[in-house]
Amino acid sequence: MRWERRCGPLQRGLAPALQHGAGARSDQLYGLRLRSRSDRGQGNYRKNAFHGAYTARSTLEWSFEEINLSDHYYAPEHLKAFGTISEGAPELGRKFFEYYSAVFAAGALTEREKALIALAVAHTVQCPYCIDAYTTECLQKGSDLEQMTEAVHVACAIRGGASLVHGMQMKEHAAKVGM
């Protein structure tokens, strides 16, 4: 099986946890001294996330415990540690990630097309983890900024259109109750 097919971008972000988690002692994974993100002098999250410039450390340093120490929502560390979500329900986690990988493998659509769809959906559901992961993934699949921006506009148009088309309901109701 080809490397690209084994893990999707969200999983790739958490690949260290998946690769090392199974065979590692718990103290290897979770026994490290932790720092909150602000301790590492992080700047603006969005800017750092877009440029992928947050502090990188040993893959073994990322830990579930650290998530508990985050002092705000949407810490970039969550993405790297996503694999630990399986701890509470390993079988469900396994099934989810297998399914996830299968979804993003090339099929009737190419991997690049699927990544662009994911990027658009990420903006629709406004998931910063997904935006981070699929911005990189789109670039790595060969898309450029113009193509990615058009994908985001598709999300924007559908989202805006969805609001506007509800105006039809407004119109009908207004017609019914109005003179």
Binding site: R2, E4, A53, L139
Partner: protein, 347 residues
């Protein structure tokens, strides 16, 4: 547009400074050798020698932001002499290598470029010209595409993307337009139309701190887009990761991407990419006749380690094949994702 590290006397012009920066970025991460051992390789050993890669020098008409050679118009200080070039040919004759891979800089700017091509062709070798495309538009190179075609030379042309934005971002404003003009010129010379004697390969590097796209998954899209938008055809697409050295290393540092890029390379380590890495089947020869395991080690001054010291003048094929390949942190660039080599993906 950037300028060469050398012309700016930038600290990173010194390969030792690059290695020190790379080593510092690896703190807390597995070394490449540890990753190799984890994959069952106690050492990276040579396979059959297939490719003579000759770097004619650092002179180039372009100054791309990602250049691992620190090549540029001011680098006429580093050019292979005819004597060294003849030593390359004598060494080539000691081996059964089937390919002579000519690189630089822009090798077409070297005064002995045609001599080398002609001699390699005369020996029945497959010759590769690593071409930046725009060099073909220079008046001095009028007719070069046809001349190369007459000698069955494969052109491996750098083109980051089939659209303008990423190409110009990496190679400078106007680079895309010139690349398209040069590709049309190559098509007119019979290149890129399925003729095995006039192979046109395009090589894409990422324009940023991310891995190369899997070449097999994007080749058809590239072919469709270049044909549709510009009427251009080519034979195959190669995708290469950027090595965290030289000017790309400088950009990684300045843009705050070094740590995350190293994470991407280390986390993306793909054991199945090891077998096909280019250092195993290639000898890399620098403009001054030194021998290296690959062009990247060459730029880092990491000379090949053989039982007895040798240059291309004193090349000993048997001793060459018994060496262990020199590895450092940048080697993760060749084993990340789909793998990466001068021949494209390795996995």
């Amino acid at each position: 547009m950037t300028s060469t590290l050398s012309s700016r006397r930038a600290p990173l012009a010194d390969p030792a400074a690059q290695l020190a920066t790379l080593d510092a970025s690896m703190t807390g991460r597995s070394t490449f050798d540890e990753a190799l051992r984890g994959a069952g390789w106690n050492a990276l050993t040579p396979a059959t020698l297939e490719i003579f890669q000759i770097n004619l020098g650092k002179l180039c008409n372009m100054t791309c932001r990602h250049c691992h050679v620190d090549a540029g118009p001011d680098r006429s200080d580093a050019m292979m002499t005819r004597e060294t070039l003849d030593a390359c040919l004598r060494a080539l004759d000691q081996t059964a290598a089937h390919t002579v891979d000519i690189t630089g800089g822009a090798p077409e700017l070297h005064p002995e470029f045609r001599y080398l091509v002609a001699e390699a062709h005369k020996r029945g070798k497959h010759v590769i010209d690593r071409c930046n495309l725009s060099v073909l538009l220079l008046p001095r190179n009028a007719g070069l595409a046809e001349w190369l075609g007459d000698r069955d030379v494969e052109i491996v042309a750098s083109l980051p993307h089939y659209r303008q934005r990423n190409t110009d971002a990496q190679r400078g404003d106007g680079a895309f337009e010139k690349s398209i003009a040069a590709l049309r010129l190559l098509n007119a010379a019979g290149y890129g139309q399925g003729d095995p004697r006039r192979i046109l390969s395009l090589m894409t590097n990422p324009a940023g701190a991310f891995l190369a796209a899997p070449q097999s998954s994007i080749e058809n899209e590239w072919k469709t887009a270049l044909k549709r938008d510009f009427g251009i055809t080519f034979d195959r697409l190669l995708a290469l990761n950027n090595m965290p050295i030289s000017r790309f290393l400088e950009w990684l540092i300045e843009s705050g991407n070094l740590d995350s890029y190293m994470s991407r390379l280390v986390d993306g380590f793909n054991p199945t990419a090891i077998t096909g890495v280019m250092c195993r089947n290639t000898i890399s020869i620098s403009w001054d006749g030194r021998l290296f395991d690959c062009d990247f080690n060459q730029m880092l001054d990491l000379d090949a380690v053989t039982a007895r010291s040798m240059t291309i003048e004193t090349f000993d094929f048997a001793a060459w094949q018994q060496r262990d390949i020199v590895t450092r942190a940048h080697c993760y660039g060749c084993t990340a994702g789909a793998g990466s080599s001068c021949g494209g993906a390795t996995a």
